[in-house]
Amino acid sequence: MSTEDKDRIALLQGTLDLLILRTLGLGKKHGQGIARSIQAESDDVLLVDHGSLYPALQRLEEKRWIAAEWGVSENNRRARFYSLTRAGRQQLARETSQWERLVTAMARVLKPKETEG
């Protein structure tokens, strides 16, 4: 998939990727922690499909935006911990600004419609 494509579409997938990157921007986390964190920070508006989470993590890992290592969780469970790489940080910045542009653009398109109606 080319970058141009990503700019235009890939909303769903891109959204999850962005959310993961954002969450990891705050520190190391394992998969379940990422899911919980997203859920909590969005006030339970965003529900992460656990089944999609891991393929997404895998994808990001392959792109070298995040790195992973096995560790021990706070309640002594073995878990795989993810952290943001340098490339991942840059990607987070890029995607955040893209997202903001998208939101602004969406808002611009949606507003006049409301006034007309």
Binding site: H30, G31, Q32, G33, R36, D49, H50, G51, Y54, P55, Q58, R59, E62, S73, N75, R77, R78, A79, R80
Partner: protein, 897 residues
């Protein structure tokens, strides 16, 4: 290159498990019970398998792993039905080996160009036969051109060959050649080899180079020059064990000393596909052999065959006209009468060489190709059947896998990988079998093996065969595979296949059955026709016994023996051969029976009018022991007298056909006749006996009128001699003893053509018999495969209807009426196939008419038998499973899958 190791499937699973446990921990904190927490965590995660699959497919390395997994899975599931697996693989292997061999043969004879530079520029010159052509002594071939229907001859005089080279501007080079058999003496042993006398320009015209040493050049082809020879790779291997020191070695060709100067590469076997030339010597040597058929000076001796290379841009028509006037110029110098005709010249494309065998074989090869195609189609339908049956039977299994999260692509891949396993195995076995099969084919057409290499040596035919194999497998797998991919899950999971289930699978099988039937019918008709040909050929009464006879040819005339001395040597050989322990008797004759040759002359009985049938008589010069050795019964009078008859009044023993033609029911004993040809004209031959009719030169022609004459009556023209040895000794031991015996008399006497009379019989009807055996054999195997495939298909579709049958029985249908229902429906499908197959068989059988013997192409027995066999197979294939289904308890049947 630095690269992180890919994650393993195990690692990923572990992570998923850890997630579920962490989630369960959290839920437990919220107050859920242990079990509920875990269950809810799993639920929240969703489809674990699907996630794992997605992980699985996301990594590239895994794709390879997955392929391996697919292959193992496919192999395991194929092995669950080993017989169907074997049939599918077997039919594919048979089809691949048959097509590789048939294509190799077709490629060598019909397609491949000569292995020389720019072969498309080469032409062979021929002349259209005319009775007034100024030729006295013509050798070479004379054939009817398959394209134009004209009778053409091959050979020109040496002067004409030179005139073509000098006087036809459209040719860049012109070369002459004359194929013949030569006696090669090297390292103390003599042998016949197939050779060619070639002009000095020959190798240059062809642009053929030696692999070792050099070729014959124009300076070698001059009178008085040291004589040279070039060997083929095969002869160099056979006689010199590839010793490089053979270059420069001295050998004898027809008793003339010659030095070997070069060896040709293995791929160059001469210019006639199917006939390999082993020895090349310069044309100028012809004079030294002192044979009347060769002369560099006599303009009426035409013996030189011509190959010419066209200049770029020159047209055949212009070159033929120019060659005609060049030939006219030569004829003018010697033909006294102005009426002498200058024959028309024909240029034959020779890029593929001199295609005598090929032109004759073309039809056979086409029929063979058609047969191979039918086998391939059967293999294809068998494979489709197998895969289709498997996919449909597995619908439920597939549905389970789909609902567990397997992707549809994945399911399709399984079907395809199964097909590919069969394809790879089939191709492997097929290619291995191709070599012996081609050897058989080559033997069958009587061609030299080294001139027809297995075409996969150059990869093209192999590539075609393998591609064909994979295309077959893929085509056969995609249809059922796609069907499985589209499977509607809910009904398939519930499926108990009640009435009329099976859907697409059944519809497809309804198409496959008639196709299979039509193909099988074609094959069965072919088996019928060629099988009867075989029987008819075997039933021919030869008039003599072929068992326990070893024949060989010896030629002492090439070593200086003449007339009485020659006859004495042959008598000596006969006595010494007869003295070998275990030898019953030895007969001499100037031709061997069934060897394809005969001498013909016109007989006129003194004092009687010429019979309506004419006087054409086959002559056999033989010894007194001939009739007893060949077991030819004497009907009247006495046999041939022993001893030297050259000074005695000439006598003959004729056969029944001769006696009946000239004398009807009267006794011919004591009657005299004469022959017409100059060397026999003077003799008045007395008939002293009558023997039973025998075939002479070949098996196919009815027994001709034969006159047997003592060979010593032909003492002036005596040359080579054939010996027939009757003995129960093993062939190899007898052959060895015979060679030793003749060698002990004079080691320089070449011994050749050591063959049993049975071999000669096989060779005489070789083409017909081998072809009939080939067609029957291939056909039988293919028909068997088709029948097995058909049975499997019918059995499968009948078993699919077990539930339907159960319902019918539950509703009160009688067992037999239900069975009949199934059988009738199958027969309807078969009838469709028969309806298509019969006209196709009638149409195609026209093309094999010339290959049949004693049976018409529309032979009703073959057709009726084929249809009957088809009906039996179909009915049995439908009835057996239907009977089984109808015997099942109705309740079980309803539950049956």
């Amino acid at each position: 290159m630095f690269r992180r190791r890919k994650r393993t499937h195990h690692d990923f699973s572990e992570e998923v498990e850890s997630h579920i446990e962490l989630e369960a921990d959290r839920l437990r904190e919220q107050g859920l019970t242990e079990a509920d927490a875990l269950a809810q965590a799993r639920r929240a995660f969703g489809n674990v398998t699907s996630t794992k699959e997605r992980f699985y497919e996301s990594t590239r390395l895994v794709t390879l792993e997955q392929m391996w997994h697919d292959v193992r899975y496919g192999f395991r599931s194929l092995m669950r039905n080993p017989w169907t697996f074997a049939v599918a693989t077997g039919s594919l292997a048979l089809a691949i080996s048959a097509s590789t061999a048939a294509f190799s043969l077709g490629d060598a004879l019909l397609v491949r160009s000569l292995p020389v530079q720019q072969p498309e520029q080469l032409r062979i010159l021929q002349w259209v036969d005319s009775p007034n052509a100024p030729v006295k002594n013509n050798s070479g071939y004379s054939i009817r051109d398959p394209q134009t229907g004209q009778k053409v001859k091959s050979s020109f005089s040496w002067a004409a060959a030179q005139a073509f080279a000098a006087g036809v501007p459209y040719f860049s080079e012109v070369a002459g050649f004359a194929p013949d058999e030569f006696v090669l003496t090297a390292n103390g042993t003599s042998d016949y080899v197939s050779g060619s006398m070639v002009s000095g320009s020959w190798f240059h015209t062809l642009r053929a180079d030696a692999a070792l040493g050099r070729t014959i050049r124009s300076e070698d082809d001059q009178p008085g020059k040291p004589r040279v020879a070039v060997l083929s790779q095969a002869l160099w291997t056979r006689r010199f064990h590839q010793d490089p020191k053979a270059i420069g070695a001295g050998i004898y060709v027809n008793n003339q000393p010659v030095t070997i100067v070069g060896v040709m590469p293995a791929r160059f076997t001469g210019i006639e596909p199917g006939r390999a030339v082993d020895l090349y010597i310069p044309m100028a040597m012809a004079e030294e052999f002192k044979e009347v058929s060769y002369s560099l000076t006599v303009p009426t001796t035409w013996w030189v065959q011509i190959v010419a290379r066209m200049r770029p841009g020159a047209t055949d028509a212009a070159a033929a006209v120019s060659a005609h006037s060049a030939l006219g110029g030569v004829i003018q110098t010697y033909a006294a009468t102005p009426g002498a005709v200058v024959p028309q010249i024909v240029l034959k494309y020779a890029g593929r060489g001199l295609t005598l065998t090929s032109d004759y074989m073309r039809q056979y090869i086409y029929v063979l190709s058609a047969l191979v195609l039918a086998i391939l189609l059967i293999a294809c339908t068998n494979l489709a059947n197998l895969l289709l049956a498997r996919t449909v039977a597995r619908s439920r299994d597939v549905a389970v896998r789909l609902s567990l999260g397997a992707s549809r692509q994945r399911i399709l891949r399984h079907t395809v990988s199964e097909a590919l396993i069969i394809a790879v195995l089939g191709a492997l076995v097929g290619v291995v079998l191709a070599a012996p099969l081609l050897k058989l084919l080559t033997q069958w057409i009587g061609a030299d093996q080294e001139s027809i290499p297995l075409a996969w040596a150059d990869g093209r035919v192999l590539a075609v065969a393998v591609a064909l194999c994979f295309a077959t497998a893929l085509a056969a797998s995609l249809l059922p595979g796609l069907r499985a991919g589209k499977l509607d899950l809910a009904p398939a999971l519930k499926a108990t296949h009640v009435v009329g289930s099976g859907g697409g699978g059944m519809r497809l099988s309804r198409l496959l059955i008639p196709i299979q039937v039509a193909l099988s019918l074609l094959l069965l008709v072919a088996i019928g026709l060629f099988g009867q040909t075989l029987l008819q050929l075997a039933a021919i009464d030869l008039g003599f016994r072929t068992d326990r006879i070893l024949t060989l040819e010896a030629d002492a005339s090439r070593n200086g023996y003449k007339e009485h001395r020659l006859a004495a040597v042959y008598e000596d050989i006969r006595e010494k051969l007869a003295a070998i322990p275990g030898v019953e008797s030895v007969a001499l004759s100037h031709e061997r029976l069934l060897a394809g040759n005969s001498s013909i002359d016109k007989a006129t009985v003194l004092g009687r009018p010429e019979p309506a049938a004419g006087g054409q008589t086959h002559i056999l010069y033989c010894s007194d022991s001939f009739f007893s050795t060949m077991r030819i019964p004497l009907l009247l009078g006495k046999g041939l007298p022993p001893g030297d008859r050259s000074a005695q009044p000439p006598v003959a023993v004729v056969n029944e056909a001769f006696a009946k033609r000239h004398f009807g029911t009267e006794s011919p004993i004591g009657q005299r006749f004469t022959f017409e040809s100059p060397n026999r004209r003077e003799q008045q031959i007395e008939i002293i006996g009558v023997v039973k009719n025998t075939r002479y030169s070949n098996v196919r022609d009815d027994a001709p009128a034969i006159a047997h004459l003592p060979y010593t009556q032909n003492i002036q023209r005596l040359n080579r001699m054939s010996f027939a040895i009757r003995s129960a000794l093993p062939t190899a031991a007898l052959a060895e003893a015979a060679r030793k015996t003749i060698g002990s008399i004079d080691p320089a006497i070449p011994v050749a053509k050591v063959q049993t009379q049975e071999d000669l019989l096989n060779r005489s009807i070789g083409a017909e018999r081998m072809f009939a055996m080939l067609v029957s054999g291939f056909g039988l195997l293919a028909a068997l495969l088709a029948a097995i495939g058909l049975y499997a298909l019918m059995a499968w579709s009948a078993s699919r209807r077990t539930a339907e049958i159960g319902i019918r029985m539950a509703l009160g249908a009688r067992r037999y009426s239900v069975q009949w229902l199934v059988v009738r429906q199958s027969l309807m499908l078969a009838a469709l196939g028969v309806a298509a197959g019969i006209p196709a068989a009638v149409y195609l059988s026209k093309y094999v008419e010339s290959m049949l013997y004693g049976v018409k192409p529309t032979d009703p027995i073959s057709f009726v038998a084929a249809v009957a066999a088809m009906i039996v197979v179909i009915a049995a294939a439908a009835w057996i499973p239907a009977r089984r289904a109808s015997r099942v308890n109705a309740m079980n049947a309803l539950r049956a899958d």
